[in-house]
Amino acid sequence: MNKVPPIRVNVVLAELTFPIRVEGDSSLAAWVRETYPISRDGRGAAPVHVSWNPGRGILRHDGRLIKRARSREELLQFVEWHLAGEAIRRWRPRAFLLHGAWIARGRDGVLLAGAHGFGKTTLAVAMALRHRWRLLGDDVVIVKPGGTVRPLDRPVRLKPGIASALPEVRRLPVGFGPWKAGWPLLVPLRAFRRSSGPAPRPRAIVILGPSGPSEPIVRRLGEGEAVARLARFVMNFRDRPAEALERLASLARRASVFHLEGGSLARRCAAVETFVSGRAS
């Protein structure tokens, strides 16, 4: 282990800055810098404190113990989870947070929504690796006042099983040590982005049902049904339900909303292409 003096790193996540004090191991600081955009490092105290010594990892926030970890991999998972949770907590009062992935081709943004396990991440990653779309965010999307959509740009969590559907993930420029240790891989978004591009606008919203071997069933939803279905995926809907309904109605007016059920990964990718090409009905 290469022990270094504590340093402070300013992580940028979803337009928020999280000063982190990193202590104990130079590889830990390197991981933070590789995983997140960083603003200019500063000095002084930082609310989030991460330290790693062999066999002992500690994560604190404002002095409060968040997690003790026995392995470096476990510690990194919790750092990532904690930062995402803090970003969600800070965005919650001023925007709506929707479970979904945000992908784009040029200015055309497609929001992939759906329950856990219905293939949002797999489809988003496939569109990036196979079809050169930009993967801008996975897991949570922020719907701001005025209808702008931006991702919670946390690393993409890839479980080992994704490699069987998408072997291309093994060519990502990341270490695969976490999989060997039984943890998801945390892949920085910059590993997927081919280039920066214009801020996309929501052109289509796809609500995913379970995948399957058969042809996908695609149904374009009316605005009412779109709002009703999307409401299920808004994490803070109950905080301000009237405002959430209005925001979803605005989104459903501007973007075509589809329900996509069944279909292989390849067929689903093809369907997503039609949603922005104007060929989908």
């Binding site: 009316g222 605005e223 009412g224 109950r238 339900p241 009237a242 979803l248």
Partner: protein, 95 residues
């Protein structure tokens, strides 16, 4: 089930209604359920203000649809069906 003429249904005040292009969406915070209303059901909901009888709803709905409106028997059946749906799902205020 026909709605009696004297009945002036009123929607529960705690429900949230959002208009959309093709009708409306009703959210019941009690059961956390969302109901999708087509255009005519949305019209009926907006008339469930305790002031409209079903006959008055019928007159207004027919007027809003103009010359191409379905006949009154059909419209009356739509209105009765919508009100019954609201009643069955507990969306109307108690009489």
């Amino acid at each position: 089930m026909a709605v009696s003429e004297g009945n002036r249904p009123r929607g529960r005040e705690d429900l949230l209604y959002q208009e959309v292009t093709d009708g409306g969406v009703l959210f019941d915070p009690d059961g956390e359920k969302v109901y999708v209303l087509n255009a005519s059901a949305a019209f009926v909901w907006n008339c469930c203000d305790g002031a409209h009888s079903s006959e008055e709803m019928l007159d207004e709905l027919a007027a809003s649809l103009g010359p191409g409106a379905p006949d009154r028997t059909t419209l009356r059946a739509d209105i009765d069906k919508a009100i019954e749906h609201f009643r069955r799902n507990g969306l109307l205020a108690d009489a």
